[in-house]
Structures are given as C-alpha cells and as structure tokens.
C-alpha cells in the first residue's frame, strides 16, 4: 500500500500524481469518490492527472481520449487500450493506493524506470 496524501489535501475535482513506477494518478470526483489509475495515457506519454475530470471520466490533456476511472475503459479514440486501475483504501483520513498486479498498458516508447 502506498500512502498518497491526507484526505483533506485532495479536494473534490482535483487530481494528484504519485511518483510510483509507472506513476499513478489519484482523483477525487465531484461526487466524492476517490479513484486511482495509471497516470500515463495509453496512447502517448501524457499525464492523465493533468487532464479534465468530468463525472467519473478523465479526458486526456493531449488528444482528448476519455477513460472511465472505475473500469479503466477507453471511451473515445485515439487511445485504444484501457488504462490500468488501482484499489484505493482510506484509513485514518489518509488516502492509500494498492498498486495493481496486472501489466500496465503503457504507450509505445514508454517503459518502466526499473526496466530502462
């Protein structure tokens, strides 16, 4: 489990980027849900934490693909593959992320730092 931040420091509508390998984005939706996905878009090297949060979807800041934060599903091209989701745990008002054990869907040209 990776500690992200105190609950109070991530207001609704905001996102946080965790420098994991690969980086993880944590979102606090307007509806109050806290959700985590890989930060790197599956199309190219863009940070989804910089994107636009609308409901339970994040729109990539570069080419506007949209990903469902709950399932990782991609709703609009140019991205074709889903983004990996992570489990979020809140304990004593602190947000933690449980990194997924699945393979990440990194875009072409982006590799894990550990493998670079």
């Amino acid at each position: 489990m990776i500690p992200a931040c105190p609950l109070a420091s991530l207001p609704r509508g905001e996102a946080l980027r965790l420098e994991a390998d690969p980086p993880i984005a944590v979102f606090h939706t307007e509806e109050g849900e806290i959700l985590a996905i890989d930060d790197t878009c599956t199309h190219q090297d863009a940070s989804l934490a910089d994107g636009w949060l609308e409901g339970c979807e994040i729109e990539c800041p570069l080419h506007a693909s949209r990903f469902d934060l709950r399932t990782g599903r991609v709703d609009a091209p140019p991205a074709k593959r889903p983004v990996r989701t992570h489990q979020v745990v809140i304990e004593d008002d602190v947000i933690y992320v449980v990194p997924s054990e699945e393979e990440p869907n990194l875009p072409p040209g982006v590799t894990l730092k550990g493998q670079a």
């Binding site: 863009a46 940070s47 994107g51 636009w52 800041p61 570069l62 080419h63 506007a64 072409p108 040209g109």
Partner: protein, 390 residues
C-alpha cells in the same frame, strides 16, 4: 435506412461508421477507401513515425478485435455520385446504391505546379508518403522544407533530430504565423533556429533544380539552396473532384449545414473534405484537425439517421496540437478574431508559456507551449463559453 455507404475509410469515415453503429444503426454498412490500408492515424506520420519511434502497427485506428460489422472496399476509389439515385460509382466499374451516404474523402497534399517529376521531392499525407520519405532521411543529408505550416515545421523538427541539415523556407514572417499570428509564431521560429534549423523567411520558391533528381531550390531573389531531399508542405486541398456534377454544393470543400447535412437529403459530409456552416465565425469553414473530425463524426451520424431533424449543438472552437522537438504546442480558437494577445504564464524564451488572445475582454483563442495542465483548463473554458455569432 437499409444501406449506408461511407466514402473515405480514414479517421472521419471510421468514426462516423462507429457512431452510426453506436447510435443504433443495424443495416448494411459499406466503407469505400482509395488506400489499400486499414484506417490509420496521420499525426504520427510527421512526428514519431517519421522519427522511427513508433511502427506501422501503432498507427492503427481500429481497436483490437473491433467489429463494426461492415463491408470494406479498400483499394477502390469512388469516381462519381448520383445524388438523386444515391448511387456511388467506383473505380473498379461497380457501383453501390445506398439510402445514406457519408462523404469523408479528406484532403490531399498540395503540390508545386512545376516539380517536373524530379526524384527526391516529397509531400506528406499518406502512410506510403511517410514510408518513402523516411527512407530518404539519412543522417547528414541536406533537406529543404518548403512551407512552414504544421506539417512543414514538424518534418523540419523531426529531420533535424535525425541529424539532417535542415532549411525551412517560409513565405510569411515565421512558421505557423498564419494560425498563431506573427508575435507568437516568433517563439516557434526561435525554437527552430536554436535547435539548428536554418530558417529562410519571407521567401518564395520559383524553381526546383536538378536533372532527374532534385539538387536544390531556387528562390525569387535568385538565391539557390542546395538539397538532397525536398519536402513540399504548402497545404492541402479537399478531395471533392469526384463530386463534380453530383448536385452537391462545392466550394472549399463540400458545403454543409451545422450538422454536416448537404443540400441533398441522405447525404452528409465530414472531416477534412467538408466545410460546415459555423455560426460563430459566419460562413462555411473546413477544419483540418483531428479533433474536428472526431467531434463532427457523431453529429454527422445523428444528422443522417434523423433525416436532418436532429439539432446539433453549436460548434466548438477548433482545437489542434503539434509536437516539434520536445515541445508540445496546443491551440484552441481563432487568432484572427483577436485584437490583443498576452502571455499569462511562463515566458517565450523558455519555450514554456501560455498566451491568451482576446477580442476586447473576451478570450477568443489560447496557445499553450509545454503548458499541458494549464492549457486544459483554458480549453475547457473556451469550449463551454456561450457561442457568439461572429
């Protein structure tokens, strides 16, 4: 509606076909495409693909296992349209009768009138163009790029990174000056010069020199730029000549209403070949950007399926991006409508800034250079602002 024929099997055609299925169309769907390739993405052709950072498989627009339940007629061009009978004639001497027709034939690269079929002279629009150009971009070779629009500026940047000796010839004051306006385009000019591109501004090309193979470019002032390879990037023209005599209204593209409907019921046009009516700008305009095709595909599908009764939302200001060197350029709106432009974040010299173009107090365009996060906020702001008639 029992049969829909989509003519042009690239971005706009594929996305409209997808939108038709998404909106519940279950009838026969035929996609006709002149290129032999399955739909692929063009933006990387001047960037990562040309650089060799991504391969052909990465360009595919279709998702893995995507099933549109369509008939694909690839490698076949539409040669004519009988709009009243809704019959498309094809280059293989067959024809298709349809109840709905989607025109998505895009655009072709404009060529120099007099290139005399010289070897070593390239344009860049298709995968085949990109393959051919890539083979010629050997380290140390001299490349002259004619035209400092997006494609010219991107090819110049990519070739420079590949170690070529690059000269960019631009008729205006700076690359991208047409869209960004001269003051902001100056920042792009500096970027290119600092990274080693030689810029020749305010220059007109009069002749390509060489016998059999190009060896240089002659300018109006008599200067001669030696070249091993030449790329001509002087814009694109809509692929609409096959529609002459069809009864559709043609101008700079197929003229359409705000929903992509043409003068003929059951025929819509979308993407780079289509000039939709735009209330905010007044008049018909072609939008030659990726997201333009994506946004309009869903609208065009709704127009076709509803028989033109679906009321589209007002068009959003056009958005495009361009990658040059390690710089991400993002732009939304119309610089031409502005009477002032101010840098609101960062500075021009550092190649990381955000500039807002205003008409009076009202923001009409925003430019982001390596300011992805902030630009996204501004883009949303412009996209959700009420549309004003221009």
């Amino acid at each position: 509606m029992n049969t829909v024929c989509v003519v042009g099997a690239s971005l706009a055609g594929l996305l409209t076909a997808r939108a038709l299925r998404g909106q519940g169309y279950t009838g026969r769907l035929v996609l006709v495409g002149e290129e032999r390739h399955r739909p692929y993405d063009r933006p990387p052709l001047s960037k990562d693909f040309l650089r060799g950072a991504v391969g052909e498989a990465d360009l595919a627009l279709e998702g893995e296992g995507e099933e549109l339940d369509a008939e694909w007629r690839l490698g076949v061009a539409a040669t004519g349209l009988d709009a009243v009978a809704r019959r498309v004639t094809l280059s293989d001497a067959t024809s298709i009768r349809a109840d709905g027709i989607v025109i998505a034939t895009g655009a072709s690269a404009r060529t120099l009138r007099d290139s005399r079929g010289l070897a070593g002279v390239h344009t860049l629009r298709t995968l085949d163009d990109a393959r051919a150009l890539r083979r010629e971009l050997g380290e140390g070779r001299r490349l002259v790029v004619i035209g400092g629009g997006f494609i010219g500026a991107e090819v110049a940047a990519t070739a420079c990174e590949l170690g070529l000796e690059v000269t960019l010839v631009e008729s205006g004051p700076a690359p991208l000056a047409g869209v960004l306006g001269a003051p902001m385009a100056e920042a792009i000019a500096t970027l290119h010069e600092r990274r080693g591109v030689r810029l020749v501004r305010g220059a007109y090309v009069t002749e390509l020199t060489g016998a059999g193979r190009v060896d240089g470019v002659r300018l109006a002032d008599g200067a001669h730029l030696p070249a091993d390879v030449v790329v001509v990037g002087i814009g694109a023209i809509p692929n609409i000549s096959w529609l002459e005599g069809s009864g559709l209204e043609l101008g700079d593209g197929v003229l359409c209403d705000e929903g992509g409907g043409t003068r003929v019921p059951g025929v819509v046009a979308v993407g780079d070949c289509a000039a939709w009516f735009d209330l905010a700008q007044g008049g018909h305009h072609r939008i030659e950007h990726w997201t333009g095709a994506r946004q309009r595909a869903a609208v065009a599908a709704a127009t076709l399926l509803s028989g033109g009764t679906a009321r589209p939302e007002p068009a959003r200001p056009p958005y495009f991006w361009s990658d040059q060197f390690d710089i991400k350029i993002q732009f939304i709106g119309h610089a031409g409508h502005a009477d002032s432009v101010t840098v609101e974040e960062g500075d021009l010299a550092g190649h990381s800034f955000l500039a807002v173009y205003r008409q009076g107090e009202r923001p009409v365009a925003v430019l982001g250079v390596n300011q992805v996060r902030l630009f996204t906020r501004w883009r949303r702001h412009l996209e959700t602002a009420p549309v004003q008639a221009g």
